[in-house]
């Protein structure tokens, strides 16, 4: 088995007296797609925020390729190859679709500080952005402001933004949330494409069971901020404790 690319050790965050993520230790490896499941309020998005840097950990560690990144800013983590997509659409609304993607390409290439030549002169950035637009089938809306896109296309743009960052680690937070049944497969196809590249580590928060079954190599279950189960899909989905918690059977957990 390959070395883990992302590791959390006893990762914890407290908001006052409430422990949202409690001592979660987990390792994620390249070539593996891990789905994180759990009821609402289980701490899935908070766990993501701790890994990508939007929230500071109260205690514990996050390691990327063995380097401690627990105290790093989100931008520093992004530069180290952690790509994070958001549950609520989180784009640059008044900028065009192409400009949104171009910004991600530019962040990756490190040209953000160039200030004396017009953007148009950096052909390679635009060309690369256009390739991602094609791949995500957004070319025909390239010059529209992101805010004008229908919801489904905004979700696709969210994925495209992540792909344009060319990270080692992809973190998707309910990528198909609010999408119609016609559009969801487009996004899932893109994620399957990313998964096919075995150098990439993919983390996915998802509720829809058919999605989980189709994509997951491994499932971890969070409940009340704690890691409840971790293993192969069949094994986890079959376990009684998970069925009780996650599928809401009333028998409760001891």
């Amino acid at each position: 088995m390959s070395e883990p690319s992302l590791v959390t050790r006893d990762l914890t965050i407290r908001f006052g007296g409430h422990v949202a993520v409690n001592n979660v230790s987990c390792a994620f490896r390249p070539g593996e797609l891990t789905v994180i499941v759990g009821p609402n309020g289980a701490g899935k998005t908070t766990y993501f925020n701790l890994m990508s840097g939007q929230l500071p950990a109260s205690s514990g560690q996050v390691l990327k390729d063995g380097v401690d990144i627990t105290r790093m800013s989100p931008s520093a983590r992004a530069q180290r190859g952690i790509g994070r997509a958001f549950q609520l659409t989180n784009l640059f609304p008044q900028l065009s679709v192409l400009e949104n993607i171009r910004l991600a390409v530019q962040a990756r290439s490190g040209d953000g500080w160039r200030m004396l030549r017009p953007v148009g002169h950096f052909r390679r950035l635009t060309e690369k952005a256009e390739r991602y637009l094609e791949e995500t089938r957004l070319t025909k809306v390239a010059h529209q402001p992101a805010a004008n896109l229908p919801h489904g296309d905004q979700r696709k743009l969210e994925v495209a933004l992540l792909m344009a960052m060319e990270p080692d680690i992809y973190m998707f937070d309910e990528p198909t949330a609010g999408m119609s049944l016609d559009h969801a497969p487009d996004v899932l196809e893109l994620i399957a494409g990313i998964k096919a590249d075995t150098s990439k580590t993919v983390l996915l928060v998802e509720h829809k069971m058919d999605v989980v079954r189709a994509l997951a190599d491994r499932i971890i279950v969070l409940h009340n901020g704690e890691l409840l189960a971790d293993g192969e899909p069949a094994e986890v989905m079959g376990s009684r404790i998970v069925r009780d918690v996650y599928l809401g059977t009333s028998e409760g957990v001891a």
């Binding site: 989100p74 931008s75 400009e99 910004l103 991600a104």
Partner: protein
């Protein structure tokens, strides 16, 4: 991006080009002292408003310290011109000193407070600007206090200086305009303003400009895709301060007087805010249109109302309403109407019109 090819955008660019041409030939087109005063003020304020727009319109940073940086540049040149006598050395040293002090303040304010919420940042800039304004009037042995400093500009700009002479040794004229020091001073102001404005146009079109817009649109996401937001914000705050400071130095050389009312006062800060709002935030063209409208209104609305009031003597009520003393009332009314009909400023609103598919 998306409004690149609207007819409105073309119209705005046409107007800006026309304004540029008028300013270039201003000494020949408007041959009186007051008009040249207005033209020079417009040049300076275009730069000042555009540099402020880099913050508020492009990056979404609200600062009330812009006149403070303008003042550092002006006082830097003024104090040295007073102490060292007229010459280019005090202008250059004063300009550099102004930039240096501005950078120290900008870095300090930036690093200390750009992480906090916009409203707190605005408060801190307001506090810093107030302190500097009070200091300028208290440290009167350096700054001349409320009276300000009067000094002489470099010899090149003395009205008696002959730039070109004819066969008899008299100053050469073209279309009734003498090639004297005053003309040289105006073109000094014009050239400096033009260079600074073109530089800013370059900045906003560059990759850096796109990052600034990204920060304005969605700061958290800009950070998440890998841009160090605090560094970018601090940098643009410093850049904007530097340009404001240089504009202050140029204006000080032109006016041959520097005091709180010409460079540091909050009245100027409010003028800048109005200009950027009226012209349109987030477009460099807006700065040009806002500065021109506001400065022209400040200088000529009174005259115009005087004429109107005279012409309407005998008509009841109207001459009273249009009495020149009420010019501020009418200016206020015009602003309210402008903001109502052009919610994104004149340039911002017009550029969205006439979009082509």
């Amino acid at each position: 991006m998306s409004n690149k090819s609207t007819t409105g955008a073309l119209a705005i660019k046409g107007i800006v080009a026309l304004i540029g041409a008028l300013l270039l030939f201003a000494p020949f087109l408007f041959q009186d002292v007051r008009s040249l005063e207005v033209a020079a003020r417009i040049c300076i304020f275009i730069v000042l408003v555009a540099s402020f727009d880099l913050l508020i319109g492009y990056t979404g940073i609200v600062s009330f310290a812009h006149t403070m940086f303008f003042g550092f540049g002006a006082y830097g040149a003024a104090i040295l011109l007073k102490e060292m006598g007229p010459g280019w050395t005090p202008v250059i040293l004063g300009g550099l000193a102004g930039v240096a002090v501005s950078l120290v303040f900008a870095v300090a304010i930036g690093l200390l407070s750009l992480r906090v919420k916009a409203i707190f940042f605005a408060m801190i800039t307001l506090a810093a600007a107030s302190v500097v304004l009070v200091l300028a009037s208290q440290l009167s042995q350096f700054t001349g206090g409320e009276d300000g400093i009067t000094y002489r500009a470099p010899d090149l700009f003395k009205p008696a200086t002959k730039i070109f002479t004819d066969a008899d040794g008299k100053v050469l004229s073209l279309w009734g305009v003498k090639f004297n020091g005053k003309l040289a001073a105006y073109y000094f102001v014009f050239a400096c303003s033009l260079v600074l404005f073109l530089l800013m146009l370059r900045f906003v079109a560059s990759p850096l400009g796109t990052v600034l817009k990204a920060i304005r649109e969605n700061e958290a996401r800009a950070e998440a895709i890998g841009y160090k937001v605090v560094a970018y914000r601090t940098f643009i705050f410093c850049l904007s301060a530097t340009i404001a400071s240089l504009a202050g130095t140029v204006y000080a050389v032109w006016l041959k007087y520097t005091g709180p009312d010409t460079s540091l006062s909050f009245a100027i800060m409010i003028d800048i805010l109005l200009m950027v709002v009226i012209g349109g935030m987030g477009t460099m063209w807006g700065a040009v249109i806002g500065a021109v409208l506001m400065v022209v209104a400040q200088y000529y609305l009174r005259d115009l109302m005087g004429v109107a009031s005279e012409a309407l003597t005998g008509v009841p009520l109207l001459p009273e309403l249009l009495a020149p003393d009420r010019w501020l009332f009418w200016l206020g009314l015009i602003f309210i109407l402008l903001v109502y009909f052009f919610p994104k400023g004149i340039a911002g609103t017009a550029m969205e019109k006439g979009a082509r598919a």
